[in-house]
Symmetry: C2
Subunit: 316 residues, 2 copies
């Protein structure tokens, strides 16, 4: 995109901005993987240290009337822990920054921290630092540091002939968000899936050890993430819609809202499911479901055709 001094972030879009930022930030020989994948990989003496960072903004990534502070803490941690999962790594240490208005109830901040710490503890990770400051709006900034015992699995390793596989719930959080957005609180199982995702934390390392060729977590929408993987790998991806059984609660929400429930599955994020590709000679591990294939070319199709709905979420 050609830019002028008047170009705004909104004009450039998230990816336009990031692509330019990546050019500005140079790595060194200790950065095995810099910006552009789910996490950075650092060679610090004898280990592979994996680092990722994320921001959550009130009104954009969460609403205080849609989820408790503890839920928001769980979600903020899960989103970051999932990035380490998506490298095939093990999350170890996190920092959290909280910018908030001075009239934010202290209990809200403490419950946030408690939920955050609980989610971290569920994978054996700990919070090692943070910062708090005043702002007009609640902003939560998280950085996670993890380790890989084997080579990290990147987005760029998919090859034509590989199978595409998914593990974890997919579309549930999007369904929950949709009902909350209409003022409802049920089906409760979907609302809870949105409020407190349950990423398949053990599956990243499992996929890495099984021999996955590429790995990414579904934070921004299944087709959008498949697109990121396809682009990084220089391949095309075809998703088979028929491989998904639409869970009953999503069917109910689709009927109630007059929406195609497949939309939640194909475009939903926030469950932090994992999407992997496996070479043809690798057995897809237990718990993973084959949902498509890797082809020569570029872009993402559904059952061989372009998908005309939204594919995910944009940040600007």
């Amino acid at each position: 995109m050609a830019t002028t001094p008047d170009t705004t972030l909104g004009d450039a879009g998230e990816f336009g901005l990031i692509s330019q930022l990546v050019e500005i930030f140079e790595g060194d020989e200790h950065v095995l993987v810099g910006p552009g994948d789910d996490a950075a990989v650092l060679r610090i003496r004898h280990g592979h240290v994996v680092v990722s960072t994320d921001l959550m903004v009130e009104g954009r990534h969460f609403r205080r009337d849609w989820a408790s502070a503890s839920d928001v803490g769980h979600r903020a941690a899960a989103q970051n822990l999932s990035d380490i999962n998506a490298m095939g790594g093990t999350a170890r240490h996190l920092t959290i920054g909280l910018a908030a208005p001075a009239d934010l109830p202290l209990e809200w901040a403490l419950d946030l921290a408690r939920g955050f710490a609980e989610e971290c503890a569920s994978v054996g990770a700990t919070v090692v630092g943070g910062d708090v400051t005043r702002a007009d709006q609640v902003v939560i900034a998280v950085t996670v540091i993890g380790q890989c015992t084997q080579a990290p699995v990147l987005r760029s390793g998919a090859r034509p002939g590989d199978v595409l596989a998914l593990t974890g719930r997919q579309g549930w959080a999007a369904g929950g968000l949709a009902v909350l957005g209409r003022g409802f609180r049920s089906p409760r199982v979907l609302v809870e899936a949105y409020r407190r995702p349950e990423p398949p934390y053990a599956a990243g390392r499992q996929a890495a050890e099984a021999g996955a060729s590429a790995l990414i977590d579904v934070s921004d929408g299944l087709l959008a993430e498949a697109g990121h993987l396809a682009e990084a790998s220089g391949v095309a991806i075809d998703v088979r819609a028929s491989s998904f059984a639409v869970p009953e609660p999503l069917q109910a929400v689709g009927a109630a809202l007059g929406a195609d429930p497949m939309q939640f599955i194909l475009a939903g994020g926030d469950d932090h499911a994992l999407l992997a590709t496996f070479p043809p000679d690798v057995a897809v591990p237990e718990g993973w479901q084959v949902i498509g294939e890797v082809l020569e070319g570029s872009g993402v199709t559904v059952d061989g055709s372009a998908y005309d709905g939204a594919t995910g979420w944009t940040h600007f």
Copy 2:
């Protein structure tokens, strides 16, 4: 402080909040130093990895009409690099998160990133990740990861009989901020000191290698940081005002604004000077100036008496 469900962040204050957060976040055997010092220290295999995080909020930590985007980037990096310096470590890798309104000029964000990367490069550190998202206000979230080749120097090691020493400019940035606050742009050397601090990046490791007993960087005000050091060490600190030569530009600003220029030195932050204590049998290294002494007791005095001005900056 007794808290109720109605207690706000403003009521609790930054340190009230942090002290409660620290109780919520438990470390593990790999966290050599958790929250409460300048940075967290992690044992990751054979190295001491040092991590710190900070937030900067527009209108609170910077104003776009007082400093260029590049300056803000330099400051954001300097503030974090200084935290690693204050452990006696070497900064290696940083992440940066940017939350910003959609109408923020793209060039502002890119210049911010450039300034940030330049400051990092000046100490051999690199940016390894980041995140961008939309918010009502510009918020910059930085995490820095560093290494220590020797044991990190904490805030808690000062002992009675140690000398207190300072290195780096002190009070210049506060003087610059004061003139900007009155609508002036000179003395230029002070305004530039505020816009682009020059922390003594080599001095942290120098102090560690020389045998400093405690180390902290002056981000929030000299007396405030001396107070943090005294409290963490369980000692009293007396600062000798006569040890400071008031630089000519600070004298000029004091005269112009009708303020005591010593106030900038004693309560100013943002220069990211380093404050250390050295045991009596250790030679204070070159470039460090003895400015006081460590005593039995608690609290901070100036020339033996309580200081009745502001001692630093509070975040809520």
